[in-house]
């Protein structure tokens, strides 16, 4: 062997993998080839640890137009249109350089969507940070939010919703998952394929620089105290360039002159050339000296591995070049011919004509290593699942616990965040952010789309299988609350180091749970992203498999929101409350612990709940709906009052019927499959009957009205606060962390 061990190490390749490269090439690789293999075989690009597990997920269904394997998935939404969507992580770059890391994450997922021929119309994000008391966390949090805003606002795609949660495990490793959805006519969907020998390969967009070299490899390693040195591997975003690319590409796609197109994301030119070739069963021959360069003296190795942003690779039909070039010129972009499609199935890289790399595309893509890594149940699980409420001592007064939960950053208003996002541009946003699922109408049709990204990492930590199922159920439930029928999903699986058998076990169990839940609820997963190595100094984040669910609302006039509507409406809880506190925000906020078992989930019951929500929304029976999640029933009732000017008078005795139920579990337990709805008083019986025929428990809790949030149990008033105070506590909690810090400074 001619390659030194430290060279392999720097490329994140094992000796075994090196030998496989030699076998694939039937010779020793050149340095350029070694670089190409290293990024394509990195965890980030090859999914080598996760692939065997991902294969078990349900990906097909009558509405699925495009499943995993392309730049994004696509599902039929009626009217000859498709929703094209995907979620992706940018965790590692966002820790190293929060603003640019998050901004380029937004840029990357938007490219994935318009690359498919779809016009992006909505963004969501799922974010995780450490506790806001920590100055470094506040800096990361501010930077990430500003970066998402800076990119999304400029390009003019509204950020219509999402979730933000806080936990110590994310302090040194925030999670930044961005979801984008676009709309395309079925016939306009275009793929990332290279075919037709002799067809020219074009490069368009920003020039290539040395930024981001080995970004994909960075995302495939743990952080340590030297991570700051990796800053040059984070790219800088240019949303204006991307806006031009977006408009120009959509215009070019209308001409039918393209064979295929792919963005240069992770692993840049390398990934786009070999993946397009592999999908089309063709070869791609490019000359890097033709690639527009931002810096002088770049080597073929650097050009192939650069992750400069806002670049696209296209295969154009021969004879149509001038047409394509003209459209890009209109947008002041210069499409440059850098090579052509061949028949030999190889990626051939030249430098001024001289061949510097020649690799079978399949060796880089389909034939990349696949590992069935060792798994073992982590020792912490059995211990953490033990929960003794008695050991926690006497609970604080319900009123005080309620106020502390309202101010917990994971529960509190995220207005500080979403006010920085343009959430209204394109004039489709029917539900404002921070109110549950994001809802946008589809212009030119009567329909709207509801979408939600969810995961409770605590549940997954305590039981990965159950926790992942709960994430699926919650995302789908949020969509159903808005009146949307879930039709497709995308996942972003954030875990620690897969080389640790305990982490791999978490991952495998979570994927199993996610698959089972998606099958039971009939929601195919059409693509997504895996982010591993989310560890700093050996400590992993809470396992966080985020699920993004998309649902169709047939009549945009029937969208249901979370806020109560009218004085006197009946408040009804759909679903059953159990004596559960495991993994709750209550235990975390009041006692600082993550313990117990997650809530029990009955997927048949969950499905029945969705049917009642959908029927109730379509018929106008249900006037408002909000799912019970962090903080339980008490917080949910408060959320339904906030911003409406209406209070609630409730008695929740009916849900606390079982013996041994503590008030704490009744008020703050997070039992699954529950939704607080409101209904006109004279139609309450109708709703209860509808629920009964679906075998869904439903109980009246009280009535909308007054200016206080009141919750009684068996005649005892346990929570009673003026609405104004509830709104203040909840509404300003996140801002107060920044103000307090400013006051101290």
């Amino acid at each position: 062997m001619t390659v030194a061990a430290d060279v392999l190490d720097r490329h994140g390749l094992t000796l075994d993998e090196y030998q496989r490269i030699v076998e694939a090439l039937k010779r020793e690789p050149t340095m350029t080839e070694l670089g190409i293999f290293s990024v394509m075989w990195s965890e980030h690009c090859s999914y080598k640890s996760s692939r065997v597990h991902l294969k078990t997920l349900p990906t097909a269904g009558p509405r699925v137009l495009q499943g995993p394997g392309e730049n994004a998935g696509a599902v039929d939404i009626g009217d000859g249109l498709a929703a094209v969507f995907k979620i992706e992580s940018h965790n590692h770059p966002s820790f190293i350089e929060p603003y640019q890391g998050a901004a380029t994450g937004v840029g990357g997922i938007i490219r994935d969507i318009f690359t498919m021929g779809a016009r992006p119309i909505a963004l969501l994000n799922s974010l995780r940070f450490g506790p806001l008391q920590d100055a470094l966390v506040r800096r990361t949090f501010s930077g990430v939010v500003a970066g998402i805003a800076g990119y999304g606002n400029s390009i003019g795609i509204p950020t219509v919703g999402g979730e933000v949660a806080f936990d110590e495990s994310y302090t040194g490793n925030p999670l930044v998952n961005v979801f984008c959805l676009g709309i395309a006519a079925h016939d306009d969907i275009i793929k990332g394929v290279a075919s037709g020998a002799g067809n020219p390969v074009y490069y368009v967009g920003a020039k290539t620089g040395r930024d981001g070299i080995h970004g994909a490899t960075m995302a495939s390693a743990e952080f340590d105290d030297k991570s700051a040195e990796k800053r040059p591997a984070v790219q800088v975003g240019d949303p204006f360039m991307e806006k031009l690319l977006l408009e120009a590409c959509l215009e070019v796609m209308k001409t039918d002159a393209l064979v295929g197109i792919q963005d240069m994301g992770a692993a840049g030119l390398t990934c786009s050339t070999c993946e397009m070739g592999s999908r089309g069963g063709a070869g791609v021959d490019v000359d890097v000296s033709l690639v527009p360069q931002r810096e002088t003296g770049m080597t073929p190795y650097e050009i192939m591995l650069s992750e400069s942003q806002e670049r696209m690779l296209m295969v154009v039909k021969r004879g149509r070049e001038a047409e394509v070039e003209r459209i890009f010129e209109k947008w002041d972009l210069h499409a440059v011919r850098v090579g052509e499609v061949t028949t030999d199935g190889k990626l051939r890289v030249r430098n001024r004509g001289e061949v510097v790399a020649e690799i079978p595309n399949r060796a880089l893509t389909d034939d990349a290593p696949v590992y069935r890594r060792a798994m073992v149940e982590p020792a912490y699980i059995k211990e953490a699942q033990q929960l003794s409420l008695a050991a926690l001592g006497k609970p604080v007064a319900a009123d005080e616990a309620f106020a502390r939960l309202l101010a917990a950053p994971t529960i509190a208003s995220k207005r500080w965040v979403y006010r920085q996002y343009d959430h209204m541009v394109r004039t489709n946003t029917l539900v404002m952010p921070g109110m549950g699922a994001g809802v946008v109408r589809v212009k030119g049709t009567r329909r709207a789309l509801a979408m939600s990204v969810d995961c409770n990492g605590r549940f997954v930590y305590l039981d990965p299988y159950a926790g992942a199922q709960l994430a699926v159920a919650e995302a789908a439930r949020n969509v159903a609350c808005a009146g949307g029928r879930p039709i497709g999903a995308t996942n972003c699986l954030n875990f620690g180091n897969p080389e640790k058998p305990e982490i791999m076990w978490q991952f495998a169990r979570a994927v199993e749970g996610m698959g089972a839940a998606c099958r039971a609820l009939d929601i195919p997963i059409t693509g997504g992203n895996v982010s591993l190595y989310n560890e700093t100094d050996g400590r992993a984040v809470l396992p966080t498999p985020v699920l993004g669910v998309v649902g169709v609302i047939d009549d945009a006039d029937c969208v249901v929101q979370r806020g109560f509507r009218d004085e006197g409406d009946a408040i009804v809880l759909l679903g059953e409350s159990l004596d559960e506190l495991g993994g709750s925000e209550y235990l975390k906020t009041l006692h600082g612990i993550i313990r117990g078992v997650p809530p029990v989930l009955d997927l048949h019951r969950e499905a029945a709940l969705h049917e009642v929500l959908l029927e109730g929304a379509a018929s106008g029976l249900i006037r408002s709906a909000q799912d019970c999640s962090e903080g339980g029933l008490a917080i949910t009732i408060a959320e339904c009052c906030i911003g409406t000017g209406l209070g609630a008078r409730t008695d929740v005795s009916a849900v606390a019927s079982a013996a041994g139920f503590s008030d704490v579990a009744t008020l703050f337990g997070e039992s699954a499959s529950r939704v607080v709805v409101s209904v006109a008083a004279q139609r309450e019986a109708e709703l209860l009957a509808m629920a009964a025929s679906a075998h869904l428990p439903a109980r009246r809790l009280g009535a909308v009205g007054g200016k206080r949030v009141q919750i009684a149990i068996e005649g005892r008033m346990v929570i009673d606060q003026p609405l104004g105070e509830v709104e203040r506590t909840w509404g300003t909690a996140i801002e107060r962390y920044f103000e307090r810090a400013k006051a101290l400074a």
């Binding site: 400029s154 003019g156 949303p239 806006k243 004039t427």
Partner: protein, 247 residues
């Protein structure tokens, strides 16, 4: 009636303005590419929101050099109604069609939210259907909407009744709390001395349907439709040509 919606590279509210004019108000709308040399017989010109040229230098600083801006100036000089919304307002400031400049919001953050503005002047083509003092609910979405001008310019704007919209509370009182970005004198929108060029930071095109949260923006469109059809503003492109020929 024909609305021209100018598209600069980086405009992103162009579709929204087009949609409001064409689909909500049932008028004719046409996109005009910034490199075009004609407004194609438009009765009203809208410079939409967005981030023209990325706004990397100053907002609107490069867009004002776009070829179409010469036509927009001619159209305005001839009395044609021109509306600049958000980034379009910033372009009008840079182009010298309206006085003053924009600073970053005093929060130093981008802000997207509903605000209230009071209609201070009803003798512009875009406010002629408003009641004096009418308070409108419309969203803002900007990072640089903190209006600034020299004190004498503010005094002149006041004297000439060029301050068309101010941020106020629901009672129409311009308080500090109701000022979202720190604009001097709570200025949300202005007109030129001839009163036919109006710029404002809030987005009327986002407030044309109840499903989106407000219909208060409709009145700006209704005003200009009324003004143009009653001949209150001239068919500007025709007069611009006449002026050009006469010269």
């Amino acid at each position: 009636m024909k609305f021209a919606v100018v598209v600069f590279p980086g405009s992103n509210c162009d579709h929204d303005a087009y949609y409001a004019a064409e689909h909500v108000l049932g008028q004719q709308a046409e996109f005009i590419w910034h490199k075009d040399a004609s407004l194609k017989g438009a009765d009203v010109v809208i410079l939409p929101g967005g981030f023209a040229y990325g706004d990397y230098l100053r907002t609107g600083a490069i867009a004002r050099f776009s070829p179409i801006m010469a036509e927009v100036k001619k159209f305005a000089d001839a009395g044609g109604p021109v509306l600049g919304v958000c980034n379009g307002f910033q372009v009008l400031l840079e182009a010298g069609l309206l006085p003053g400049a924009m600073l970053r919001n005093r929060s130093v953050k981008f802000q997207c939210e509903q605000v209230l503005v009071k209609v201070e002047q009803t003798d512009t083509p875009f406010t002629s259907a408003c009641r004096p003092g009418q308070v409108l609910k419309m969203p803002i979405a900007h990072g640089e909407g903190n209006y600034y001008a020299e004190p004498e310019v503010i005094a002149r704007l006041d004297r000439n009744r060029q301050i068309v919209f101010r941020y106020t509370n629901a009672q129409g009182i311009p308080t500090d709390e109701s000022n979202p970005n720190g604009s001097l004198a709570n200025i949300a929108g202005l007109c030129n001395e001839q009163r036919n060029v109006v710029g404002l930071m809030p987005h009327p095109e986002r407030a044309c349907e109840m499903a989106l949260g407000s219909v208060d923006g409709l009145i700006l469109f209704e005003s200009v439709i009324k003004s143009v059809s009653q001949g209150a503003v001239s068919n500007a492109e025709a007069s611009a040509k006449a002026v050009a020929v006469a010269r």
